[in-house]
């Protein structure tokens, strides 16, 4: 068994070993689906019961914010119409993305660096596809697409690197995973990102799609050559249940 384990480590990209891993995932998938549905049901009602007061207050606040947003939505609609007309006049293509909704059915132990979703090659998912949450927030990337399940590496993982830029000040840099957090680094000294500014993927690395939200600029630290900033993530990966796979860009 030691020798088999060592062989698996050495030849982990071998077709036979990858296929065996996919078959094992396919065997576990129905159990994981059932248990994850049960978990979602239990957690939903547990959260509802324990947070009744908080939910009521949030409801009142959201109703008021909703009214303000209706006004902004009306203006946005007018701007979008105008934008669409201008694009037609200039013969520019509309940006469109195809997404596929998936559910997280298992994750690694006490970390948020990887999870498994219930969509695979059978559903059109392939390696290197980006994973986003509601609100166009980047969560991770598919690293191993099986037949009906896929393994996703989250942006928290140390192997994740995303070319990014800030929305307002247009400060470019690199977002890198640290294991339990992410950091925005390689910021030029003459650039001054604002705290709280949104960081989006720039798409210049050819791996990640352009224009998706990564987080907000946190504390900025000035180093000798470059500056860096912590990133406040907008979603807690631990709390995610449903995500979207970008099938095409």
């Amino acid at each position: 068994m030691f020798l088999i384990s060592i062989a698996i480590i050495i030849f982990d990209q071998n077709y036979i070993i990858l296929s065996a891993g996919h078959y094992i995932n396919d065997i576990l998938e129905p159990f994981e689906n059932l248990i994850s549905k049960t978990r979602n049901f239990l957690f939903f009602w547990q959260s509802a019961l324990f947070n009744i007061k908080m939910l009521k207050e949030a409801n009142v606040r959201l109703a008021s914010e909703n009214l303000e947003l209706y006004g902004k939505l009306k203006n946005l609609y007018l701007i979008e119409e105008e934008n669409s007309d201008l694009k037609k006049q200039l013969n520019l293509l509309e940006r469109s993305i195809d997404v596929k909704r998936a559910e997280i059915i298992s994750r690694d132990y006490q970390n948020n660096r990887t999870f498994v979703i219930n969509k695979g090659a059978h559903d059109g998912v392939t390696n290197n596809m980006a994973i986003i949450a509601k609100g166009d927030i980047i969560i991770g990337q598919v690293v191993d697409a099986g037949y009906s399940t896929s393994k996703v590496r989250t942006i928290l993982d140390v192997q994740t690197k995303i070319a990014a830029t800030t929305l307002n000040s247009r400060t470019t840099g690199l977002v890198r995973g640290l294991g339990s957090d992410i950091v925005f680094e390689l910021i030029a000294k003459n650039k001054n990102p604002e705290r709280g500014e949104l960081i989006i993927s720039s798409g210049t690395d050819g791996t990640w799609p352009h224009g998706f939200i990564i987080g907000k600029v946190g504390e900025i630290k000035n180093d000798r050559v470059f500056s860096s900033a912590t990133i406040e993530m907008l979603v807690d990966i631990k709390d995610l249940i449903n995500i979207f796979v970008i099938i095409n860009k």
């Binding site: 088999i4 994750r107 690694d108 999870f115 294991g179």
Partner: protein, 161 residues
């Protein structure tokens, strides 16, 4: 509970094994303060079952659980194999009897060993989630004591090695 587990057929044991793995991956891993049911299972097997069964189950657990981890099945199966071997060795040399103190000590040693090996193999320090570490250190011996306490009526006061 030990007699109940021993009486399972191979099919039922396989089903139990798959449910255990799925429950760990799909339910317990969602909780910030959780524990490792797979480790508890390996400690249970190391105490009650044959060495071969313990090693095979530990290895298979690593292979199955590793499919959900980035590091893959090889590293995790090696890790669990080391833990199972270590538990078998120290059970043979130090923990002969099924006393509560021995079970608690064995579980604590297993948790520490697992955390150390995870740090060595995957670079994940136990301090990253120290609350989870403390919880696991508390819950693992507790669950094992409950399991073995429920088998009190059976004459398993001494395990012959």
């Amino acid at each position: 509970m030990i007699k109940w587990f021993k009486s399972f057929s191979l099919v039922l044991k396989t089903l139990f094994f798959l449910l255990l793995i799925s429950f760990q991956l799909s339910f317990l891993n969602y909780l910030n303060i959780s524990f490792d049911l797979i480790l508890i299972f390996i400690i249970f097997l190391a105490i009650t079952q044959s060495n071969a069964e313990t090693l095979v189950c530990a290895w298979l657990s690593g292979v199955f659980v590793g499919t959900s981890y980035l590091s893959g099945s090889g590293m995790l199966s090696l890790l669990l194999l080391f833990i199972a071997l270590f538990l078998i060795m120290i059970r043979k040399t130090a923990f002969f009897t099924l006393k509560i103190e021995n079970i608690i000590l064995l579980s604590i040693i297993a948790v520490f060993l697992q955390r150390f090996l995870i740090w060595a193999f995957f670079g994940v320090s136990p301090i990253t989630n120290w609350v989870g570490f403390i919880t696991e250190l508390t819950i693992t011996p507790l669950i094992l004591v409950l399991i073995f306490n429920s088998s009190k009526n059976q004459t398993l006061k001494r395990i012959n090695v």
